[in-house]
Assembly symmetry: C2
Homo-oligomer: 481 residues x 2
């Protein structure tokens, strides 16, 4: 059982790792190809010749920054009185009438020497860009693109290396990325019970599975309302996996890929009447709770047993800035210590992006699940005072649980509800299984998987903008409720 | 295809959600039982009578805080000049010679009324604890436990409700939780190449699978070094799942539950010689990159093709406090837009806990994977200036890639390496498949899963403390390398 130390076994197989080897490896960067189907690769990758491989030039020497850019510090007032110094560019390289930082531009080059066309991997490292890199020449093409040649380019990139940037990329409003930066809840329409009763969408199972337009609608609904219901789902234990499979791979947990919420009728045993189940989120005792949950109703002939949903985003948006700040700082611990597992994690109640957008706090996720709370830590282990934290938490809980904000819906056989587990709380009213049966089958999908699908479908179908009047309405209700 | 609005379908099945209903639900909290095998439940849960259910008292009225605790603000100097106000308790309820905050104590009660014994769910909400709760009586028992009865207890908890706290729980050094707060990298021994060559552990497959002592050793090695090698793994495509299965469920991704890194010999095609693969971490374009990676070597008769590993924690610990701060603030975006997927996420290079421990930054994860970097965002979208960020990143990259810090090991058939993907970078030297073959099969396991297993095994086998001399050695090398 005693494991052998490496020195006893390594001697004959360890290759010496001499100084300078890594640099030698690095000079091969722009040549390497990756052919396997590992996560490092495009599964469909094929070997491809890389342009310009025969024209390497000697490495440029790194020098201290001297590219002509000068910076001045500007202090910007931020919400809640915090101040932060930002650097404002007042120099740099000039393209047309505007100024750019050469290092950022060089880093963004996506030519086939810089980014492998088949694997989409980057063939150089940001840290290898010489700080004194500069533009040697530039030319605006007829289509508005700008072609740039470099002075003091990266080691291994010769005079033939040319970067081309689109007019869109260079536009003042561009932040150098085409990606919708993850801020899913910013695009959400926070709802109370009245609003969601009017707006919840029901999609037909056949359409959802077969039509990309319908599935795109489902994605939009999940971004906006964080909940939708697929109807007419076949009465099979496999179905919930099929519905989830539209997004991508399922999130497996120690509960299994899918799991059952089931009661069996037995009038003689009071235990088989299931009571009210308080509003909660699932699996907050993990660092990465599942982003989305699916519940497929296989049977619901019981009396009672309605599903409850509450939008924590609606509750959070109506809080005072002070309470939002407190709940962003204060963490609550969740724990599951049972049945051979011991999960434990502390989350802030409100997870915000570092920077706010348009003055609104950029809420990314909300974490609140009272039944799974671990004991509070002693106040000295917390960044926020107990009184402040409890007061903010009470204001938040009152809004979450306010009946005017709780959507109640009795699931029918064939319904599959899909909802955001990092935004909505869910629960269930009491029910009696006398003469009836209630059986839901559930599964999870990670936010990462759903967000990838959202991006791919947006690129295909275009972004669905929120109606301006809907957004206004949402903000109005949030601020007064 | 056009989905029907809720109002068209909901009318007949929507139950009215009247004011006050939630309060009524809530009064049932301490009575509800949960019988299914859903994630809300202990899979082995059985219905159980709950003590004291017949002795409810009317709700206490909430009043303003008046439990005798007074607070004064103390300003503590923190690293990097930041200051934060903490509240120091100078009042509260007295137990023995010490003072406690009644709300925290009440929240921590784990009696069978407060926490369901079978599901381990909490039966009340923190926000329902009246701020004026106080201790009615206390008694120290012969075993050192303290038994407390409450004044102004939670609604629904009668005079028979008694809380018992152990002497250990009430000890001044207790932070009210028995859990090892997630700070995995704090217990790590950061290594350079020389250190890991001496200390990497090889475990026998049969022992690893069959002996809990050996598996406990594996867990300790993963906490300490972040890497180990299991030897003698059967030459089957199923084996890597078996090795991973010791931790719990596998993390499925769009690459599949397991995936192949494979080259096929074909001397006529230069593409089938795989080149150097730069140091990287996997799947940083997800919000939740997998915590651990397994690679099982099925074939390695190729020339070259050694595996490379570098400990980013070693690199980070040797940085200046300013660089650590910069890399905790600066985010780098990662992207995978290929083959019908579009993943994108921004991570800080160094993910730290909010509070430092013993003056050391509490590094939780490190995120650095140059080949998958998305274009830098424009500087105005970043909290840290470009010059500062690039300088810190260059210092970090130089340390990560320093050959003295890179461990090189040629995997043998039957080896399965397990390593921390949020701490170590990995790569591969070039190899020629002429006359040989290289085939690794890989999979992932989430940090959550591994950490649960670590807690369960620690409770069983006790904590393995780092040898004091090892820790000293590690810190010494870190600070001078």
């Amino acid at each position: 059982m005693q494991p052998l130390r490496s020195s006893q076994r390594l001697a004959q197989r360890m290759l010496s790792c001499s100084q300078g080897r890594i640099s030698a490896y690095r000079s091969q960067y722009r040549q390497y190809t990756q052919l396997s189907n590992s996560p490092l690769d495009n599964p469909a990758a094929k070997a491809s010749a890389i342009e310009g491989a025969a024209s390497d030039t000697p490495s440029a020497q790194e020098t201290s920054p001297s590219n002509g850019a000068t910076h001045k510090v500007m202090t910007i007032r931020r919400p809640l009185g915090a101040r932060k110094a930002y650097y404002m560019l007042t120099g740099g390289v000039r393209i047309g009438t505007r100024l750019f930082e050469p290092v950022l531009l060089r880093d963004a080059c996506t030519c086939s020497m810089c980014v492998d066309p088949s694997s989409t991997q980057k063939n150089f490292q940001t840290t290898d860009i010489p700080p004194n890199i500069d533009i040697k020449s530039q030319k605006t093409l007829s289509n508005g693109d700008v072609r740039i040649k470099w002075k003091n380019d990266l080691p291994g990139f010769g005079a033939d290396h040319v970067s081309v940037f689109s007019g869109e990329f260079l536009h003042p409003s561009s932040d150098y990325t085409s990606v919708d930066i993850p801020k899913p809840l910013l695009k959400a329409r926070a709802w109370n019970a009245e609003m969601i009763k009017e707006d919840i969408h029901f999609l037909n199972y056949e359409d959802y599975m077969a039509s990309d337009e319908t599935f795109n609608r489902a994605l939009s609904e999940l971004v906006k309302n964080g909940i939708l219901i697929v109807q007419g789902v076949p009465n099979s234990e496999q179905s919930v996996e099929d519905v989830a499979g539209r997004f991508g791979n399922i999130r497996d947990t120690f509960y299994g890929k899918t799991w059952d919420v089931r009661s069996v009728p037995d009038a003689t045993n009071v235990a088989y009447t299931s009571r009210y189940l308080g509003l909660h989120m699932d699996l907050l005792y993990m660092a990465n709770p599942p982003g989305f949950q699916l519940l497929h109703c296989l049977k619901n002939s019981a009396q009672g047993g309605s599903s409850l949903f509450a939008d924590a985003l609606f509750a959070a948006r109506g809080l005072s800035p002070e309470d939002i700040h407190t709940l962003s700082q204060a963490t609550i611990a969740y724990q599951y210590k049972n049945a051979g597992e011991h999960y434990y994690y502390q989350h802030p109640v409100i997870e915000s992006a570092k920077r706010s957008t348009f003055g609104l706090p950029s809420i990314l996720n909300i974490n609140y699940s009272p039944p799974f709370q671990a004991p509070y830590l002693k106040h000295s282990a917390q960044a926020v005072s107990l009184l402040k934290r409890n007061s903010a938490l009470r204001n938040f809980a009152e809004r979450v649980e306010n009946p005017a904000n709780v959507f109640e819906y009795k699931m029918q056989e064939g319904d599959c509800v899909i909802f955001n587990n990092r935004r909505l709380l869910h629960g269930r009213t009491a029910f009696s299984a006398v003469g009836g049966e209630r059986w839901l089958k559930g599964t999870y999908v990670d936010s990462d998987v759903v967000e990838s699908r959202v991006r791919v479908f947006r690129e295909r179908f275009g972004t669905e903008k929120l109606q301006r009047d809907e957004r206004d309405k949402s903000e109005e209700v949030s601020s007064t409720a």
